[in-house]
């Protein structure tokens, strides 16, 4: 392992630190910056009742990244992104540097730590909306230090959501501690008047994630973050596909925040447009992107992370991404304000969902130490995620879509659910005990829920 030093209370690589400005300089630059801030954009969105849209976007080369941001801005995003490449996410900085030298176009994101904070600042100056760093790093301290030095005011990730789906073998103790340090820096900055928006990746493994697992994990991360002084939280939930369930989940974010978090913390529900296997036909892909926008508005989200109609094929080109932004925003148009849902059905979903979340979260909180509680719960399967990338989650839970398309638990594994919750899930997923091969088929069908037989979009 490389040698580490302390920067703003976080331990980061000596080589990363060597290139950074002094901490006070960084704080002053952030405090006096006249650039638009993420927290303000989110607050404004909340006031208008219309979510802003934000694409994922990141390419290897610096000029190409500038160009990409400039091409996306006219589509009307309320925030833009610097999506980080897989090497940087996993702290394989050398490989990122090598790829950047040899074949920048082959990178699946922008290696910010390699490019350095000065170039990051150029990205921020290139457009008139705030930028967020989106990545997937179980330990993002180096990346966060560079991002702050550049002047970013929004940073995604957390000790659960950026561990479980993004690496094989990082213990929760490690990732929770790394993110505790990030959050503590945010707390210190908040005391200095600089609010950093911290988005929590409730999407987890993205495919058939039961809403209560998503909300439980982000809620635990939120509680941990607030304890470190974080004041602005974007809590992201992945669209599952059934409108009542998705709206209930988005609305539950505020309800749970009111119950578990202090009132001085700004909480912004965020919808990640459908994160599972995306339809390959342009018609359904576009419709799904639109649908996400509409669900976000109905659910009271402040932000939508849009998908594109090239999602099923590969990292989208700028045109497809711009169209994705526009299509998602179309779903938020006031012209669709006549769309109303069965509120009783949503209330019922909300009440069950919040009950499930409480049954998952309350035991973890019992001992007061959130990071330790999280690690222990995952080890025991009392917190769990389907299809985990990390070996530290047991993936004993098995999700299934019910007859309406809503995501339920086919098997609850070791989750500490009450009998009532288990019975409801059993009832909703009762399709007879599937034989093993039928089982793979059934899960695959649920995963491929939005696939249609139609002409390819690319």
């Amino acid at each position: 392992m490389s040698e580490t030093v302390e920067w703003a209370g976080m331990r980061i690589d000596r080589s990363t630190a060597a290139d950074l400005p002094q901490w006070r300089e960084t704080v002053d630059a952030l405090r006096t910056s006249t650039r638009p801030r993420a927290a303000d954009a989110l607050r404004a969105a909340h006031r208008t009742g219309r979510p802003i849209a934000q694409p994922r976007c990141g390419v290897g080369g610096h000029e190409e990244m500038l160009e990409l941001l400039r091409r996306l801005e006219p589509a009307g995003p309320g925030m833009l992104t610097v999506t980080i490449d897989s090497y940087t996410r996993l702290k394989q900085f050398d490989r990122a540097a090598q790829a950047l030298r040899e074949a920048p176009a082959d990178l699946n994101g922008y290696p910010l730590t390699v490019h350095g904070w000065r170039r990051g600042r150029q990205l921020l100056d290139a457009v008139g909306v705030p930028l967020e760093v989106r990545h997937g790093s179980p330990d993002a301290r180096d990346l966060f230090a560079v991002a702050l030095a550049a002047g970013f005011t929004s940073f995604e990730g957390g000790g659960i959501g950026y561990n479980v789906p993004y690496c094989k073998d990082v213990p929760f103790a490690t990732s929770m501690e790394a993110w505790r340090q990030v959050d503590a820096v945010c707390g210190a900055l908040a005391d200095d008047g600089v609010i950093v928006d911290r988005e929590l990746f409730g999407t987890l493994t993205a495919v058939l994630v039961p809403p209560s697992i998503s909300l439980a994990c982000t809620l635990l991360e939120a509680i941990a973050a607030v304890r470190e002084g974080v004041r602005c939280l974007s809590i992201a939930y992945p669209q599952g596909g059934e409108v009542h369930q998705d709206v209930a989940a988005l609305r539950s974010i505020r309800a749970l925040a009111a119950r578990y978090l202090p009132p001085h913390v700004a909480v912004h529900p965020v919808l990640h447009e459908f994160m599972g296997v995306f339809p390959r036909g342009r018609g359904t892909a576009d419709a799904l992107i639109l649908y996400g926008g509409l669900v976000a508005r109905l659910g009271g989200a402040d932000k939508i992370i849009n998908k594109t109609n090239q999602e099923a094929y590969g990292i989208p080109d700028a045109d497809a991404n711009a169209l994705g932004i526009r299509t998602a925003l179309m779903g938020t148009s006031e012209l669709l304000d006549f769309v109303a849902l069965d509120e009783a059905r949503i209330d019922e979903e909300m009440s069950w969902l919040q009950r499930e979340v409480a049954e998952l979260v309350d035991p973890v909180l019992q001992d007061g130490d959130v990071p330790a509680g999280v690690a222990g719960a995952f080890a025991a399967g009392r917190l769990d995620v389907p299809f985990s990338a990390s070996v530290h989650a047991r993936s004993l839970v098995v999700p299934a879509r019910d007859a309406t398309g809503a995501i339920r638990y086919r098997r609850t594994g070791e989750l500490p659910f009450s009998a009532a919750v288990r019975q409801r899930n059993d009832r909703l997923t009762d399709t007879g005990a599937a034989a093993p091969d039928r089982f793979i088929q059934a899960v695959t069908a649920d995963i491929n829920y939005f696939l249609r037989d139609e002409p390819a979009s690319v």
Partner: protein, 142 residues
């Protein structure tokens, strides 16, 4: 005799779902699957092969577009006498939505033996690999 394969996802890649499902599917089909999971360096595949010398193939998934860079060490490992069994690769192998044939050629150039579109082809391809091995020769691509 129990058939065995080594399965995993490329070094920089954390996509887990296909890996879980392919493991289930191969077990269903009767294989013993040594599943190394996501983010697996090529050297770990080689080590697993050394620990399981009867493995019929090393089956690698890559979805994040980094297949070429993640497998770049294959020629060096092979030159060192390691990872000598057939390597089967599948997933989303290059970055971007507009794929070109060149991306696949490059991977073959590294010595990847079989590149598949669909995991449902796996059992058939594994059967072909075994036949070829039994016949004392290695099938030259599928």
């Amino acid at each position: 005799m129990q058939r065995l394969v080594i399965l995993g996802v490329a070094h920089s890649d954390a996509h887990a779902v296909a890996n879980h499902l392919i493991a289930m599917q191969l077990r269903e089909y009767g294989f013993t699957v040594v599943n190394l999971g996501v983010c697996t360096p090529l050297a770990d595949f080689a080590a697993a092969l050394e620990a399981n010398p009867t493995a019929e193939a090393v089956v690698i998934g890559s979805l994040n577009g980094h297949a070429y860079a993640d497998l770049a060490d294959l020629p060096a490992l092979r030159a060192a006498g390691r990872l000598r069994c057939p390597v089967v690769l599948g997933g989303n192998l290059t970055v971007g939505s507009h794929k070109s044939a060149g991306g696949i050629e490059r991977l073959r150039g590294l010595g990847v033996d079989h590149i598949l579109e669909n995991p449902f082809e796996l059992p058939v391809v594994l059967d072909l690999i075994r036949e070829a091995a039994t016949a004392g020769r290695v099938a030259a691509g599928v």
